[in-house]
Each structure stands twice: as C-alpha cells, then as structure tokens.
C-alpha cells in the first residue's frame, strides 16, 4: 500500500488561499486505508478550511468528492461535471492520483493536500512502516523475505554494517536492523548457509536509475 500523511495545515492553506471555490478530492484506496485521504479526512479538511477562511472574513466554497481510485482516468472522469464550479483542485490522494487529476483537467490548478510517503505495511492500528522501495528487481527470495533495500538504512546487500547493535540500527534505535531480521529468518528456516552467499552489486537500472518507469502488458494493452 502507498502511505501518505496530511500536509501541515499552514501549507495547505497557503496553497489554496488565492481560490474561492475548491474541489477537494479524496481517494477510497490506499490513502483511505492509511487514514490520510478518505471520506473522513476529506470532511475534516473541508471543515477546517471553511472555518479558517470564514474566520478571516474570506469564506470559501468547498465541494467534497471521494473517488473510488484517483489514479485511474475513468474514475477521474467523474469529476467533470463539478470542474466548472471549481477554481482549484485539492487532492488528498497520493501523488499518482493528484497527477492524474492534473493530467485530465489541464486548465485547473491542482494542489496536493498530502505528502506521499512510501510503500508500506500496517504494523498495527495507526502505525505504518516502509517495506518496499520499488527497486524493480526483487531480492526477497535470497534475503529470507526481508528487504534490505527498503529496510536497511544503508541499503546494504551484504550486511550488517558495524552499526548494528542488539538488533537495532545505529541511525535510529527504533529501527530494527534489517540484516538482523534476515539472519533471524534464515535461522528459523534452517538456511544459515545462505548468509555466506555473496549478493553481487545491484543493477539499479530497473529502479529509478533508468528514469521514469512504466509497465506495458502487451496482452492487455493491445
């Protein structure tokens, strides 16, 4: 899941303050699940903004919409009838959603209301942690199901480094050392000998090293 967090209120207020009619668009996918941009957060933000501008004697109209998924053109198309009444769009989806709205409605300024953070998992209610860096060449098969790219502060492929103490990372004692986790899993699997294998240098071209990426499924794209 893509995780996000609402931007500081001051920044949001600053970005939309020139506009009087705002279309606030949430997304019912990842940002709903991480409680950053679903219907509820849309309602709260709309209320907060209305109050702020009313208080300033400069009231705004805010229309609230939450799309099923903001990163698909068909869903984004649903905004069309509302666009005429909007001076600007404030998106509570991840960066993908906000860009899709911007691509479709070229004449409208689009502002993000959330900071898209990372691909992560939910550790428990209200806590999410990074798990995948989208490197394009997954190594989980040889690292016992724990990703050193996303979870090691130094992205070491042959860890740990000397900063690993009692299973914690020297960067922040709240971070588990990924290589400790890898070792623990290997042991549990009875595959300690794998640890001795040297993982060769990674070809980063499958990741951001090769520029913006896209996937084309020939069978589906036709």
């Amino acid at each position: 899941m893509i995780t996000a967090e609402r931007k500081p209120m001051e920044e949001i207020i600053g970005s939309v303050s020139p506009y009087r009619r705002i279309l606030l668009v949430g997304c019912n996918e990842c940002v709903t699940v991480c409680a950053a941009g679903g219907r509820k957060e849309v309602g709260l933000l709309a209320s907060a903004l209305k109050m702020h501008f009313a208080k300033e004697g400069n009231p705004v109209e805010i229309e609230e919409v939450t799309l099923e998924r903001q990163c698909d053109p068909e869903y984004v198309e649903e905004l069309l009838p509302r666009m005429d009444q909007a001076d600007a769009v404030l998106s509570m989806a991840c960066g993908c959603g906000a860009q899709e709205v911007a691509r479709r409605y070229k004449e409208k300024p689009v502002f993000p209301a959330v900071n898209t953070r990372f691909m992560g998992a939910s550790e428990r209610q209200g806590v999410w942690a990074e798990r995948c860096a989208g490197c394009g060449n997954c190594v989980l098969g040889i690292t016992a199901g724990v990703c050193p790219i996303a979870r090691c502060s130094k992205q070491l492929l042959n860890g740990p480094c000397g900063g690993s103490t009692s299973g914690k990372c020297e960067v922040d004692p709240d971070i588990d050392c990924a290589w400790q986790l890898i070792w623990d899993r290997l042991k549990a699997l009875g595959m300690q000998e794998r640890y001795e294998d040297n993982i060769p240098a990674k070809d980063w071209r499958t990741g951001r090293g090769g520029g913006p990426r896209r996937i084309v499924r020939e069978d589906l794209a036709s």
Partner: protein, 147 residues
C-alpha cells in the same frame, strides 16, 4: 451592547454523562442554559467531523463527555474519544481557531453535580474566549457535502 450568549454543544454518552445531566435535573442544580446536549450511545461514537461541523456551523464551544476512565460501558470508547478530541484541538490550533473551544470531560452517572460544574465552568471559559470567529465572516459558503 448585547451580551454574548455562547452556544455550546455537549455530546454526552448515554450511560454516564447523559445520565449525570439528568441527575443534575433531579437534584435541581442550576447551570447555564447555553449548553445543549446531544445524546450518543458512547463518547467513542463522537466523530471528529461532528465536532468540526458544530464549530463550522457556529457553535462557540463543544463538550465531549463520557464515562470516567476505566468505567466505559464499551470498554475504551472514552479513551478513543479523548484522543480524537486532542486531534481536533490540534487541527483547530493549526487553523488559528485555538483548541480551547473543544474539551473532553469524564464523569460517572451519579455525578450530577460534576455535570453542572463542568457546564458552568466551560460556559464561563467560552465567554472569556468570545464568540466563534467563524461567525464574524459574511457568507458562510456552506455547501452540501457531496459524498
């Protein structure tokens, strides 16, 4: 000049705070009539949006009142409510409203006197804070929530 009579919304849980408010009635205790009670089954039912909307629509203060800690009929609804009230206070601070217009209180069903005291003191506090600044704006720009 007209004296300021604040409008205060009190979300009261059925099992404790609402009962305490009834108890204040049985005991014929007086508190300011500014406080209007909305009954909810549990303070944990009070949505952050409801608190925000109350203020957006012009309430000068919002009370969320639940059971004493550890006494919630639904285990921990009051604790959740307290966290939620904190987060709303933070948003209100961020938009320059100040968080003091919203407050969480706890009381047991028998505490009629506490309810009356809370209602009285909170009303005094809101009187000091003055009218909800949202009301001073002209056009409220109220639009129906569309989803």
């Amino acid at each position: 000049m007209e004296t300021f009579e604040p409008v205060i919304v009190a979300f009261c849980c059925h099992y404790c705070a609402y009962t305490a408010a009834d108890m204040a009635g049985s005991m014929r205790l007086h508190y300011p009539p500014n406080v209007k009670i909305i009954r909810v089954p549990c303070s944990g039912k009070v949505d952050a949006i409801h608190i925000m909307k109350a203020l957006e629509k012009g309430a000068d203060g919002v009370i969320v009142a639940g059971c004493l800690e550890g006494d919630c009929h639904f285990k921990n609804g009051n604790i959740r409510a307290a966290h939620r009230v904190d987060s709303v206070r933070k948003i209100l601070g961020d938009i320059g409203m100040g968080g003091d217009r919203v407050e969480m209180f706890t009381m047991s069903a028998g505490m009629g006197e506490r309810f009356a005291l809370v209602a009285t003191e909170f009303t005094e506090k809101i009187c000091k804070l003055g009218a909800n600044p949202v009301k001073s704006g002209t056009d409220m720009g109220m639009h129906q929530a569309a989803c």
